[in-house]
């Protein structure tokens, strides 16, 4: 019903207490936020919970925040960045709320799908292994780049100048390129040496 409304109008209505308008923002960006949280954590269950936390935080703060550029996604990614950074605290804070989520159907065959899940999660985890060796500012830059944000949007999310964001992204790409070209066994996470 509200698909034709822009983010800024939905946001204004949410600020007036219109929960359905906020629900439309979830329809629009729920999967984008989930994808970002999954890329940062490589854990589907945690990514789902963090997605809920991001939108609950966004609702809690929407009255005091004006959207920049008329788009909600950078603001949501800004919250998601902080939530992922402090995920244990965030999940603890919203523990009672998340407990009220009704039981969700388990996947029909965990094991049959496991290979595909593990493949996706292993590949994500391998990329994350390398990305997590980066300094945190570069980790965040590459993660937002992966989400398709423009330089300007990503810089706004991180509250830094665009030139700083570009520098961080350039360094992150360089380090990841060198790391992935090193010829290490990329199919297994290397155990620590004895």
């Amino acid at each position: 019903m509200m698909e034709h409304l822009g983010d800024d109008e939905l946001w204004r209505r949410a600020q007036d207490g219109d929960a359905e308008a906020f629900g439309s923002l979830f329809d629009r960006y729920g999967n984008a936020v989930y994808g970002y949280c999954f890329r940062r954590t490589a854990d589907r269950a945690v990514a789902e919970d963090l997605t809920s936390v991001v939108f609950l935080e966004a609702w809690r703060r929407c009255r005091s925040v004006a959207l920049s550029g008329g788009h909600a996604l950078p603001f949501l990614f800004g919250i998601a960045t902080n939530v992922v950074r402090n995920q244990r605290r965030a999940l603890r804070r919203y523990r009672n709320v998340l407990r009220r989520l009704p039981p969700l159907e388990t996947e029909h065959d965990f094991a049959e799908d496991l290979a595909a899940r593990i493949d996706t999660e292993n590949r994500m985890r391998l990329v994350l292994v390398e990305a997590q060796r980066l300094p945190r500012p570069e980790q965040e830059a590459i993660a937002l780049h992966w989400e398709g944000l423009t330089t300007a949007e990503a810089a706004a999310v991180l509250d830094i100048p665009e030139s700083t964001f570009r520098t961080r992204l350039f360094r992150a790409r360089g380090r990841l390129s060198r790391a992935t070209a090193s010829g290490a066994d990329s199919e297994r996470i290397a155990p620590a040496k004895e």
């Binding site: 929960a19 906020f22 979830f26 994808g35 999954f38 997605t51 969700l104 996706t120 990305a131 790391a179």
Partner: protein, 241 residues
């Protein structure tokens, strides 16, 4: 496999049902008012994990079982006098994973974290419970990260036990929150690797894993359990020899 740092692997979106459930939950919480609850921090008592694996057969159970419902079977057993107190749930049991004729469940109990599994028939199931280790403990042969392990082989032990139709057994475990990946070193030379998962609704400081493979009856098929942190750092190698 070549890693392209500019194009991370495509990931699936939330399935429509889960997406809708999350949306509904969000709007319900908005309708309740201020959703933020300040968590009470409290110290948790932790002590040495005594993993107990018990195969409890209740052949001839009076209750008719329609469909494969391990949760219902376990609930029925809670009221029976022989049901060990350490298995009694202190919170709801959750079904972690299932197939057409098998089910993996978990719950918090007086005994710590319990895992349950049944295959072929829900009326014969296996349970294992354990507690997190107090890392200050210096007990020998104890694990700092493995809370409990449960093994269900591919082979039937007797007429009262059965296997899943796909012929696979299962190895399941509960591990500390630090553990991101588990390698199971098998006596036949295989190494079965799996990632751990958090599990909503368990309300315990534990992550879970399950591997379904062809397994020998003898539990000694597992030679060692190796636990890793996210990032690949090895936390512990626990020999089961």
């Amino acid at each position: 496999m070549t890693l392209d740092p500019l194009l991370p692997p495509k990931i699936p979106t939330l399935p429509p049902q889960r997406f809708a459930a999350r949306r509904d939950h969000l709007l319900q919480e908005i309708g309740r008012g201020e959703p933020v609850q300040h968590a009470q921090s409290h110290r948790r008592r932790v002590f040495f994990a005594a993993a107990v694996t018990a195969l409890l057969g209740i052949g001839g159970a009076a209750a008719a079982v329609s469909g494969f419902d391990l949760l219902a079977e376990l609930k029925r057993s809670d009221d029976r006098p022989w049901s060990p107190p350490e298995f009694q749930p202190v919170a709801s049991r959750i079904e972690v994973a299932r197939g057409p004729d098998w089910s993996f469940v978990a719950w918090k109990s007086a005994g710590g974290v319990c895992l349950g599994y049944a295959a072929g028939t829900a009326i014969n199931w296996a349970v294992s419970c354990g507690r997190s280790l107090n890392r200050a403990s210096e007990r020998p042969n104890s694990s700092n990260y493995l809370i409990t392990l449960l093994v269900h082989s591919s082979e039937s032990a007797s007429a009262t036990t059965r296997s899943a139709a796909d012929g696979r057994g299962a190895i399941m475990g509960a591990v500390a929150l630090d553990v991101a990946r588990v390698d199971l070193e098998m006596a036949d030379g295989r190494v079965l690797s799996t990632l751990t998962q958090s599990s909503r609704g368990l309300d315990a400081s534990a992550r879970l894993f399950i591997v379904r493979e062809q397994l020998r009856l003898d539990r000694s098929a597992i030679r060692a359990v190796v636990l890793y942190r996210a990032g690949g750092e090895r936390l512990e190698r626990l020999s089961l020899d």
